[in-house]
């Protein structure tokens, strides 16, 4: 077991390196690193030569990559050529915001999804089971940006108008009320509800299906029959034996999903102007801001790889049936 974990950890290092090469190659060849300087038609030749030298763009591609990687690893992520803002603190705060939104959405979806899944499995073919299946299909088929638009217009414009409110029940943009300083839990919650709902629709759909399937599998298994035969109480059989085992595959799935959050909430964040990683990326992409896109990509890919690793290890730890050589 420990050997397996250590092997996976060591194996992750070359994967991270290869990914960094790929990210660098694609971003470097797709975006003009000097786009931020060239956007001003009055920029001089001398300035461009100076910036080229500062960014190491006058060197060979391999040297460019190496210069960038060493700087990146030391936390020296440079500044945007357009806004001159240092990239590191911005990505850091965006990442925190995204993890808050994604984390809450995942936790909420997990709670609801597992609940629906377990109940559907226990009452297989009941009206609740049929109903939740249909709703899950609806959730899977919902274009989330469209759902976001509808929620935004409903809560932002129509509901405030009908109820004669001065501010909407759930805010349609941003992270906190303009002008507020410090942390206000209620204000923050009112800003988080709509983006969270949009994210949750599909996650709940997937998790509930997932949970229902693995729960059914467990319910039909031999050891559950044994547990029942031993005369254990039904509630204990369900919670301690069935649910615990049915949750194992879902746990690893959640770990993988959490890793994708860092780079994954693009549309929701863009529509709700939520200052997280997704919006940061879209803004940078629209501006063609090489200096911001490159470290952003690296962080997003890094997260995915680390959490995939975590999922693999988690699976090995949780499922005693799996033995690795």
């Amino acid at each position: 077991m420990y050997r397996y974990i250590i092997r996976r950890l060591i194996f992750a290092i070359p994967i991270l390196l290869i990914s960094s090469v790929l990210v660098f190659a694609v971003v470097r060849s797709t975006f003009d690193p000097l786009g931020g300087a060239a956007i001003n038609p009055r920029v001089s030749k001398a300035d461009i030569i100076r910036v080229k030298h500062e960014l190491g763009l006058d060197k060979s591609p391999v040297q460019q990559y190496w210069t960038w990687l060493t700087k990146f690893l030391r936390g020296n992520w440079g500044s945007s050529l357009l806004s001159d803002r240092p990239v590191y603190p911005d990505i850091q705060s965006a990442l925190v915001n995204t993890i808050v939104l994604g984390g809450i959405a995942t936790a909420f979806s997990l709670l609801v999804g597992v609940g629906i899944g377990v109940y559907s499995a226990l009452r297989q073919y009941s009206w609740f089971d049929h109903f939740s299946t249909s709703v899950a299909f609806l959730g899977l088929s919902m274009p989330n940006f469209w759902f976001a638009l509808l929620l935004q217009i409903f809560f932002g414009v129509y509901l405030t108008k009908w109820l004669h409110l001065t501010s909407p029940i759930f805010y349609t943009a941003g992270l906190s009320q303009p002008g507020s300083s410090g942390f206000n839990l209620i204000d923050r919650a009112r800003h988080l509800v709509l983006p969270m709902l949009v994210l949750s629709v599909q996650i709940i759909a997937v998790y509930s299906r997932y949970m229902r399937a693995s729960m059914l599998e467990v319910l039909h298994s031999d050891y559950l029959r044994t547990a029942r035969a031993k005369g254990l109480k039904e509630s204990r059989v369900i919670v301690r034996h069935a649910m615990r085992n049915a949750l194992i595959p879902l746990t690893t799935q959640v770990a993988i999903d959490v890793g994708a959050i860092a780079g994954g909430l693009i549309i929701t964040e863009a529509i709700f102007e939520y200052p997280g990683m997704g919006r940061y990326f879209v803004d940078a992409l629209f501006r063609g801001d090489y200096q911001q896109i490159l470290p952003w990509m690296m962080v997003a890919v890094f997260f995915v790889i680390i959490f995939n690793l975590a999922a693999d290890i988690l699976y090995a730890v949780l499922d005693p049936r799996i033995r690795y050589a």
Partner: protein, 360 residues
């Protein structure tokens, strides 16, 4: 990084600043009329529909967005207490030609193109939604009808009105076969690549409108759009476009040497620095530009500029479209004072917010 500026020579002090909001408080030591509001917060909204909804829902009290293909006035209608206003601004929107790229390297094609663009339709369909007084822009590059004297006496581009028959005539004279649409020369159809900012609906709507209209003049537009950063940071400076729609700012007393003189064409020799994205090299006009930079007498400057403007029209340099409107909207049930006074100005709607106050 500094996130506040504790001193100020104006009516406001920057109390705090982050990527998500800038907070201004009253400068009590200001020598002039002190601000009436205690505090103002400016928040960025990159997505325009969301920005407008923020106003309608009451999350913000005033917005100053870029004009879209939608009427801001229509959009705030139905929400009592919200008012919107649109006027001429101070940005010059034009269709820019890259004179070295085919088929626009042929002056005859450019001439025909001038008559294939239905500018009046853009004004009537899209621009008037936000500025009821909008009109086709015919000034020389880059001057405005209402800023200074630079576009008072002559409007060199006023001759170019939409006339598909004339466009076809010009093309036929240039050796094109216009019996079918689009016109062809040696079997190759007359196609012009047309680029703009992909996320700007005012421009993409304009694009689709012009595309349909130019078809009647035998010219086919191929749409190729980019995100703002790519268009202005890569495509423009490297001359990789044929025809593009974007706006440029003007000044009260212009110097256009950096944008139109021969030596400012971006090439690999000057590391693609230089603002002459049109690649327009008219030596006579360039000499005139250099003269304007040394001339102090306003009357003589005006004369020199008039000659340059003539040359621009004669070379079919590019086609001015309209003055970019400035639009603003605010909750008139909440804010009082001269809220709309600076909407037309380049200084922006929020310039005089020290004179705004809360209605109770």
């Amino acid at each position: 990084m500094k996130t506040s500026i504790p001193f100020s020579g104006g009516p406001w002090v920057l109390k705090s600043w982050s990527k998500d909001q800038a907070v201004f408080t009253r400068n009590d030591k200001y020598f002039g009329k002190k601000a009436l509001l205690d505090q103002v917060t400016i928040v960025p909204r990159t997505d325009q529909p969301t920005e407008i909804q923020s106003l309608l829902s009451g999350e913000v009290d005033a917005i100053y967005p870029q004009p879209s293909d939608v009427s801001l006035i229509d959009q705030v209608k139905g929400t009592p207490g919200v008012t919107a206003k649109g006027t001429d601004g101070a940005y010059f929107e034009a269709l820019w030609f890259q004179l070295e790229s085919a088929p626009l390297n042929d002056p005859k094609v450019r001439e025909a193109l001038m008559y294939a663009i239905d500018r009046q339709s853009i004004i009537d369909t899209i621009i008037k939604l936000n500025n009821p007084n909008a009109a086709v822009l015919n000034c020389g590059f880059v001057s405005f009808p209402n800023i200074g004297n630079w576009c008072k006496d002559q409007q060199p581009f006023s001759q170019f009105n939409y006339d598909p028959a004339k466009a076809k005539e010009l093309l036929t004279a240039d050796g094109y076969d216009c019996s079918a649409t689009p016109c062809t020369k040696g079997g190759a159809p007359l196609t012009i690549e047309y680029s703009t900012v992909s996320t700007n609906t005012r421009r993409t709507t304009t694009q689709q409108l012009l595309q349909a209209k130019a078809k009647d003049a035998g010219i086919q537009f191929k749409i190729k759009n980019y995100e703002a950063g790519i268009l202005f940071g890569d495509i423009g400076p490297h001359g990789k476009f044929t025809m593009a729609d974007f706006a440029t700012g003007g000044s009260v007393d212009p110097s256009i040497t950096s944008s139109f003189a021969c030596e400012n064409i971006p090439t690999s020799k000057n590391e693609f620095a230089g603002g002459n994205w049109n690649h327009w090299c008219n030596q006579q006009a360039t000499d005139l530009m250099h003269q304007t930079d040394k001339e102090l007498d306003p009357a003589k400057r005006l004369q020199l500029f008039d000659q340059i403007y003539q040359a621009e029209a004669a070379d079919f340099l590019s086609l001015p479209l309209y003055v970019l409107p400035n639009v603003g909207a605010w909750r008139a049930d909440k804010i009082g004072g001269p809220v709309d006074a600076y909407i037309p100005s380049n200084l922006g709607m929020f310039y005089n917010m020290n004179e705004w106050y809360l209605l109770k």
